[in-house]
Symmetry: C2
Subunit: 83 residues, 2 copies
DNA sequence: ACTTCTTATGATCTATAGAGCATCATGCAT
DNA sequence: ATGCATGATGCTCTATAGATCATAAGAAGT
């Protein structure tokens, strides 16, 4: 059940989805990540092109990591998870 | 042989490594990604906290994608690939 | 209806990434 | 030793992310 991201919009979706799975509010997550609720909202809605460092802060707070892999042929089971 | 990144420094390493595997120069990659060689250099050396959009441009140019996954217990075979 | 929780968003300020020009240092050929 | 390819980096300018204050909008419960 990998989450795949090829765009910032994908990333925003994945982050929001994961946050909700962990029952965190934006404010809680922001606090954990040392950033602002405003910023979490912006990133989840792709309202701004975030900085990579901020993304890594969020990933760490959600206990996630990035795997960089060759683009895959479509695996339907994965794509379901994005939308 | 996943490449794992938890920091911008990791990301820089992975991008450089992948670029070299594909026998591309920074200038070629930059051209493909629609950015500047200067920027590629900065990102590979973590000389600046890049923007996510720029990273996605580079990933696309290298035919890579991000998989967002729960942090794994250390798998030595993977870590070797990073350094 | 009112309170509460949550997310979105307005405004201003500062820091900095990337564009755009460049040059320089290095290493590797020949 | 010299010429080329490659990557690093100096500088200025502009755009914009994030910090920091805030409020507003919406849903959900009582």
């Amino acid at each position: 059940m990998d989450q795949i991201a090829r765009t910032t919009k994908d990333l925003g979706h994945v982050l929001r989805q994961t946050r909700k799975l962990q029952n965190l509010t934006q404010a809680e997550l922001a606090s954990r990540a040392g950033i602002w609720q405003r910023t979490v909202s912006n990133i989840e809605t792709s309202a701004s092109g975030a900085k990579v460092d901020t993304i890594f802060d969020l990933l760490a707070a959600l206990d996630l990591e990035l795997h960089i892999v060759p683009r895959s042929k479509i695996r339907p089971s994965d794509l379901e998870d994005i939308f």
